[in-house]
Symmetry: C2
Subunit: 168 residues, 2 copies
C-alpha cells in the first residue's frame, strides 16, 4: 500500500478549498453584521509590501489548479484577478474546485518522476512530480490559505483552527 499522486492532490486541494469557502462565509456574515465594506477585509495586507487578502485567495486557487494542470500536462486556464467581494472570491474558489474535479486519477497517477518545469522567481525551474507536489505546491497552497485565514482572524472574524482543518 502506498499513496497515489491523485490521492495526494485533487481530494486534498478540494477539501481545503471547501474549508476556505466556508471561512469566507463566516467573514461575510461578520462583515455584514457589523455593516463593514467587504473591501476593508479583502484589501487588507499584513505589511505594506505583502500581498493583500484577495491575492492570497487567488494564489491559493492558482497554486492548486496549477499543480493539477502541470502534473497532468494540460494547459492552465487563465482566471482574471478581479475579485473584490467575498461572493466574488467564493466564485473563484468554486471555479477552481470544478476545474480540479474534472481530472481523472489516470491523468495524475504515475507522475511522481515526471519533470515539471515552470517559471519560479523569473527563471525556469524543474522539479520531479512528487517533489513538485509535496515540496512546492503543498507548502505554497497552504501558505496562502493560512495567510488568508490569519488576516481574517487578525481582523476579528470569529473563526478557529477547525474551520481551517474542516473534516479531514
Amino acid at each position: 500500500m502506498t499513496i497515489s499522486m491523485y490521492q495526494a492532490s485533487a481530494p486534498r486541494f478540494v477539501n481545503m478549498l471547501k474549508n476556505l469557502s466556508a471561512i469566507l462565509d463566516k467573514a461575510q456574515a461578520y462583515a455584514d453584521a457589523k455593516k463593514l465594506d467587504h473591501t476593508v477585509f479583502t484589501s487588507y495586507r499584513f505589511y505594506p509590501d505583502m500581498l493583500p487578502f484577495t491575492r492570497q485567495i487567488q494564489i491559493a486557487c492558482d497554486s492548486a489548479r496549477g499543480a493539477m494542470a502541470r502534473l497532468a500536462g494540460v494547459e492552465i486556464p487563465k482566471h482574471e484577478d478581479v475579485e473584490q467581494t467575498f461572493p466574488e472570491l467564493k466564485a473563484r474558489i468554486a471555479k477552481t474546485i470544478a476545474f480540479i474535479e474534472e481530472f481523472k486519477p489516470a491523468q495524475i497517477d504515475g507522475t511522481e518522476d515526471k519533470a515539471v518545469t515552470f517559471k519560479a522567481r523569473g527563471k525556469d525551474t524543474t522539479f520531479q512530480g512528487m517533489q513538485f507536489l509535496l515540496g512546492f505546491a503543498y507548502p505554497n497552497f497552504y501558505f496562502h490559505v493560512t495567510t488568508a485565514y490569519n488576516m481574517l482572524r487578525h481582523n476579528g472574524v470569529e473563526i478557529g483552527k477547525w474551520d481551517f482543518l474542516g473534516t479531514p
Copy 2:
C-alpha cells in the same frame, strides 16, 4: 510508481522545519539589529484569544513529531513548552528534527490504512493513516509554520515566501 508514507512525512517535515529555523535566524538578526527584546516577537498574538508566536512554533514541532510517532506507533516524548527566545525556539526545532530523523522508512511505510486514534477537541478521534497524514497532520503543521511566518512578517521581519518554501 507511487508515494510512500515515509516519503510523504519525514523528509517533508524536516525540510520545512529547517526553513522555519532559518526564518528564526532572520527574526533574531532583525530583533538584535533593532535592539528589541525577543519576547516582543515571541509573545505576539494576532488576536487576544489566538495563541502567541511561541506556541505556533511549539505546536508546529509537536504536530510533526506527533505525526511520525503516531504512524510508527511509538510514544511521543514530552517536550516542555518553556521557550521564550529565538535560540530556545531553534533548539526546540532542532530537537524535533533529530527525533524525526531517527525513524526508518520501514517504521512508517505501509501505514496508509492504519487506524490512528488520538484526542482532538477533547474526544477520541480515529483517522486512517493516509487521511491522518494528508488531511490532518499536514494542514495542521503548515497552519502553525505559516502563522509563525505571518506574525514575523507583520512585525517587520524581512522575510519572503522563498524563505518559507526553501529548497523543495
